[in-house]
């Protein structure tokens, strides 16, 4: 994944111009999910919906596989991907668990520990 200049933090990516161009179609599709009718249309025909928004093969694959890190690598922006996650009934702890390889309970416990 591209890195904006000066950031070298493991597991941390900045959504810069390169990513914004790469992920445009994917993010545009996720932006459409603000509308409940579009969320239903996606659920009714996921592949067709991805095709209509012009996702490339890689973006369609990571959508199909619900691959969170893959969605980020394909140019997905977290603010727009959050709307896709909502369709799937996933909250941000589910996403955190998926990205860190932890169980959801372990991820939530990590958050609690941060407050101590």
């Amino acid at each position: 994944m591209t890195q904006a200049s000066g950031l070298n933090v493991p597991g941390t990516y900045l959504f810069d111009g390169d990513m914004a161009m790469k992920g445009y179609a994917l993010n545009k599709m996720c932006f459409s999910f603000n509308d409940a009718a579009n969320r239903q249309a996606f659920a009714a025909d996921e592949a067709g919906y991805c095709w209509r928004y012009g996702l490339n093969d890689e973006q369609s694959r990571v959508v199909r596989e619900r691959d969170v890190l893959g969605l980020l690598a394909a140019g997905g922006n977290v603010y727009y991907l959050a709307k896709f996650a909502g369709i799937l009934g996933l909250d941000v702890q589910d996403l955190g668990a998926a990205q860190t390889g932890m169980s959801k309970e372990a991820f939530k416990q990590m958050l609690l520990e941060a407050g101590k």
Partner: protein, 279 residues
């Protein structure tokens, strides 16, 4: 003349809206967060500001990547909340103050801030939730509102130093407005949290507390950091502390901290809240 009476900074996460909708304020998970607000509600009830300038970041409700302003100022008579994709109940419309909006726009551009003016602007949870937390008994807050949106979606983001100057310019715009108005500035975002990447779940209590202390003791402290450094210290979304910094910079003259709260976690976020009064 218009006067800035104080500033309030708070975190926002969509889950707060769900908690409010489900009346979970006394739930053990949520209580330490909601308990921070009554002293601020009491202060607002005594001061009774006429206008709230709300500094926040849009999460892909109003703005998409097709046109993404760095700084945007609402200039509407009314602002609507809308579904952000999760079907959380939306809040009633918020009343605007178009005259003061245009004063802000005119003054900021004259002050070399090339902002985007918005006569239509959907406002998301980052704008609406602080108002609901501060005026919980009202369907819509009992004052006029002006949204000021700062881009945190796509890099480059404005620097901390730039945001500080924006806050100072907002103060100049308001305090040179001839109308007798009491204005409160509300900053919505942060504190440390990271939603994306293998470092998701990152929280930095020590930095958050140092930042909160700095807003009282040395408000420009955070302007020494580049945004990449703020991301390292506070997480990819922790950089939303720019809203707090802008808010603090918009408070002119002698400023006194009246109240604060800090709790980890709500959702994936370290939740902070501060109340400042201008003397």
């Amino acid at each position: 003349m218009a006067k800035i009476v104080g500033g309030i900074t708070t975190s926002h996460v969509p889950a707060i809206g769900r908690a409010i909708a489900q009346n979970l304020q006394q739930d053990p998970y949520w209580k330490p967060f909601f308990d921070g607000f009554p002293p601020v509600q009491k202060w607002l009830d005594e001061v009774k500001p006429d206008v709230a300038i709300v500094i926040y970041n849009d999460h892909g409700l109003n703005f998409f990547l097709d046109k993404l302003p760095t700084f945007a100022v609402g200039a509407a008579a009314q602002y609507h909340n809308a579904d952000e994709g999760w079907g959380i109940p939306t809040l009633p419309p918020f009343t605007g103050d178009a005259a003061l909006s245009w004063q802000l726009i005119n003054s900021l551009v004259a002050d070399e801030f090339d902002i985007t003016s918005c006569q239509e602007m959907l406002v998301d949870h980052a704008f609406s939730l602080p108002l609901k937390l501060l005026w919980p008994e009202h369907d819509s807050p009992p004052l006029r509102t002006i949204p000021v949106c700062i881009n945190t979606v796509q890099y480059p983001l404005p620097s901390a130093a730039r945001c500080y100057k924006l806050g100072e310019a907002i103060a100049r715009a308001v305090t040179s407005w001839p109308e007798e108005l009491k204005v409160v500035v509300i900053g919505s975002g942060g504190l440390s949290h990271q939603l994306d990447g293998e470092r998701a779940g990152f929280i930095n209590k020590a930095f958050d507390l140092q930042f909160m202390d700095s807003l009282t003791a040395a408000p420009k402290w955070a302007t020494q950091y580049r945004n990449e450094e703020l991301v390292e210290q506070t997480g990819t979304q922790g950089v939303e502390l720019l809203m707090w910094l802008t808010t603090r910079a918009a408070l002119p003259g002698e400023v006194v901290e009246l109240h604060r709260n800090y709790h980890i976690p709500i959702s994936n976020t370290a939740a902070g809240m501060m109340l400042f009064e201008c003397r």
